[in-house]
C-alpha cells in the first residue's frame, strides 16, 4: 500500500510544471515547457514569464494555451500571425508569430502523432536562456534522425523519446542507457538535474529559475 503514488500536492504539481533546459551534446540547448499554458514576454530578472525573450516586447506579451483542439495564441499586446493582426488564433505548424514590431517566432508541430510543439526564433532575437528553441511538451518529446522529430539529430539511427508519466518524466530508448550514472534498459525515469547517455546521444536536464 505504501508504494501507491501519493496524490500530487499543489507544490509538487507546480514543481513538475516548471520549465527546464535540455542540453544535448553536439546538438543544442532547448527550453522545455511542460505547462499547458505558457506566457511569453520580455526577459527581465524579476519577470516570471515561461518563455523570456531578449527583444523589444512587453513584460507579458502573449500566451499560448494548449487545449484539446490545439494551441491557441492569445495576444496581450500587439501580435501578428502570418502578417495579420490577431487577438486570439489557433496555431498551425509553420505559422509565424510576430510579437511587437520585430520579434518573430515560428511555430512547428513536426511530429504528426504528438501534440508537442516547438517555437523557433526566426528574427535573430534570443531567448533569455542560451537555447536554440522552446519546446511546448504535451505528451512526448521525440529526439531522432527523422525530420519528423521535435529535435532532429541526423546522426542517430533510432529516436530517443521523452514522455510524461504520472509522477514526472521518463525516457524510452530501445537498448541500454545511463541515467544519472545508472544503467537501465528500454525506459527509465528522468528528472531535472539528471544526465542521460546512450551510445548515440548524451544529454542533461537542468532545472532553471
Amino acid at each position: 500500500m505504501t508504494n501507491e503514488p501519493t496524490a500530487p500536492t499543489l507544490d509538487n504539481l507546480h514543481e513538475q510544471q516548471a520549465p527546464f533546459a535540455l542540453w544535448i551534446d553536439g546538438v543544442g540547448g532547448y527550453l522545455v515547457c511542460l505547462s499547458h499554458r505558457v506566457t511569453l514576454g520580455q526577459a527581465l530578472t524579476e519577470n516570471p514569464v515561461d518563455i523570456a525573450l531578449i527583444a523589444d516586447v512587453s513584460r507579458h506579451h502573449a500566451t499560448i494555451q494548449r487545449d484539446p483542439e490545439g494551441y491557441f495564441l492569445e495576444a496581450v499586446r500587439k501580435v501578428h500571425m502570418n502578417g495579420k493582426k490577431i487577438d486570439k488564433a489557433l496555431l498551425r505548424s509553420t505559422d509565424r508569430i510576430t510579437l511587437g514590431n520585430s520579434c518573430q517566432l515560428q511555430f512547428w508541430q513536426p511530429v504528426p502523432v504528438s501534440t508537442s510543439a516547438r517555437l523557433d526564433i526566426v528574427s535573430g532575437h534570443r531567448f533569455a536562456e542560451p537555447v536554440q528553441a522552446a519546446i511546448l511538451m504535451a505528451d512526448t518529446l521525440v529526439i531522432g534522425p527523422s525530420t519528423q522529430s521535435h529535435i532532429h539529430v541526423p546522426d542517430m539511427t533510432q529516436p530517443l523519446i521523452l514522455f510524461r508519466t504520472k509522477s514526472g518524466l521518463a525516457a524510452r530508448w530501445p537498448g541500454e542507457m545511463q541515467i544519472a550514472g545508472k544503467t537501465v534498459r528500454d525506459r527509465g525515469p528522468l528528472e531535472p538535474g539528471t544526465t542521460l547517455a546512450t551510445d548515440q546521444i548524451s544529454l542533461a536536464l537542468e532545472k532553471i529559475r
Binding site: G83, R96, N101, V122, P130, Q132, A204
Partner: protein
Amino acid sequence: MKFTYHSGHQPLPGYTIKRGIGLGGFGEVYFAVTDGGKEVALKWIRANQDIEMRGVQQCLNLKHPNLVHLYDVRTDDQGHHWLVMEYVAGEPLSTIFSRHPNGVASELAGQWFHGLAQAIHCLHEHGIVHRDLKPGNIFLENGLIKVGDYGLCKLIADSQKAGMTKDVGTVHYMAPEISTGNYNRQIDVYAAGILLYEMLTGHVPFEGESAGEILMKHLTVQPDLTRVPKEFVPILQKALVKNPAHRYATIQEMAKDVAAVVNPNQPMQPLPMKSPASAPTHSVADYPMAISVTSTMIFQQRWSELSGILLWSVLAAAILTLGWALIFDAYDKLPQTFFLVLAASWSVLIPSKLWLPEGKDLQEPSKADHDSWTRRLLHMTLGFAVGIFALYLDGYEMPLPWKPTADFEVLHPWQANPETQQVLSRSWVGRMYGSENTSMPIIACYLSYFGLMFLILRWWKTTVPDRSKRLSIMAVLGVGFWSYILLFLLPSVHQREVGFASLVMASVVCQVTCPWKEKVPVRKKKMRLATA
C-alpha cells in the same frame, strides 16, 4: 560523441559547461556560461600539453566582425589548456553545404566570400596564416560569416609532424605547395578559391578515394570549371593556379574581382522562406534571417537538377541505342528502341529525383528504404505506362471501344512489315492479340513484362548520389537477368529483342546521367598516418 565533461561541470572556475558542441582534431569544444551570464565556447586543447601557446596568444586580441573572437587562454588545476572563445550560434558552412548539394546562388556565394575574405585579410594583415580554412571552421550566424580556429593552425601542423591523426577532409583545401613545406599566405588564397568553388557548385574540385589521391590531384590536375558560373571562371583559375607565384598575391585582390562579379554591397537577400505571403511587412524583413531550406526550395533544386539529367539522358540513350544497332545490325528497330529506352529511363529518373520523403537530405535518399514498396508500386504503375508506350511504338492502337475499327494504317514508318500489317488490319479486339501463337492478349503481355520489371527491381537505387559506383555492372546484369527471365511474356522475337535491350540500356542511362557523389571511405588509422 563522447565528451569528457557534462552539463554542470566547472573545469575552469567561473565557467559552467552546458553541453558539448563538437570534437575537433585537437580537443573537445563545449558551450559554457560564465557566472556573469556570458555565453562562451570552451576549447580544451588536448593535442599536446607542451605546445607553445604563442600562436594563440598572437591572435588573442584580434578584432574583426568576421572572426570568431578569442577571449582568453586558461589553464585548469590539472594543467589542461583551455581556449575561451566567442560562442557562435550559427551553423558551420559544412552543414549548410550538405543542405545545398548543388551550391548556392552566385549573389549569396559572393556575400559569404566577401566575409571570408575580410577575415582572411585581417589575419594576413597581422601576419597570421590560417592554414586550415575549411567549411567546418567557418560559421554563418545571422547571415554573417565567422571564421574560427585560427591561431591553432601552427599547432595542427606540429601535431601532424608528431604523428597525431587528423581529419582527412582537410586535404580538400590544401594548396599544392604545402607538399614542399611552404606555408605562406598563398595557401589561404588557394583554400578560399576551393571554398568559393564549393559554394558555387556544392562540390570540392578534387575528390578522391584517399588523402594521397586528393593531394596528387591538387598537385597535377586542373580543376574542372565547367560547373561554375562563367563569370567566376577567370577568378577561380587565378586562385587555384598550382604555382603560388601566379596566384592572387593577396586575398583582397581576389575579393575585389569577386565583388566586381556579384556586387556584395547590395543588401543581404535572405533565401526565400516557406511562403513569401506570410512574411511580415514591418521591420522584421530587414533582419538577416537564418537560412532555412523549405520544401519548395528543395523541389525547385531537384527540378533544376532533374531537367539537366533528362537532357543528358536523351544523349546517353541516343549513343547507346546507336551503338547497339551498329553491333547487332538492328537499324530497323533503332527509333523504337531509342524511344523505349528514353521512356523507361525517364520513368525511373523523374520519380527518383522528385519523390523523396519530405525534408530528406538530397544526399541521403538511400535512407528512405522504409517506403520501398510504395516506390516499387509507383514504378510498376509507370512500368504499365511504359508498356502501353511500347505497344504504341510497336504499331498497336489502344483498344478504345469508341474508336471505329480503323482501316489499315501504318502508324510508324518502321512498322511497315507484313506481319504487323496483318495484325493491324484486324478488328480492335483482334488487334490486341499477337500474330504468333499466344493465348495472352498482347496488351497483357506488355503490361505484365514492363510492370513486373519495374516492380521487381529497386530502380531508384541506381539513381541515388551515394551509390557505391557511378555505373554498377551488377545493377545492369540484374536488369538483364530479370528481363531474360520475364522475356517469355513477350510474344514475338522482335519484341523480345527490343524489350530486353531497351531496359538494359535504360539501366545504363539512369546510372550514367545521375550525379554520383563519391564517398570518402573511412580509412584505417595506419593509412591515415602514412599519408598525414
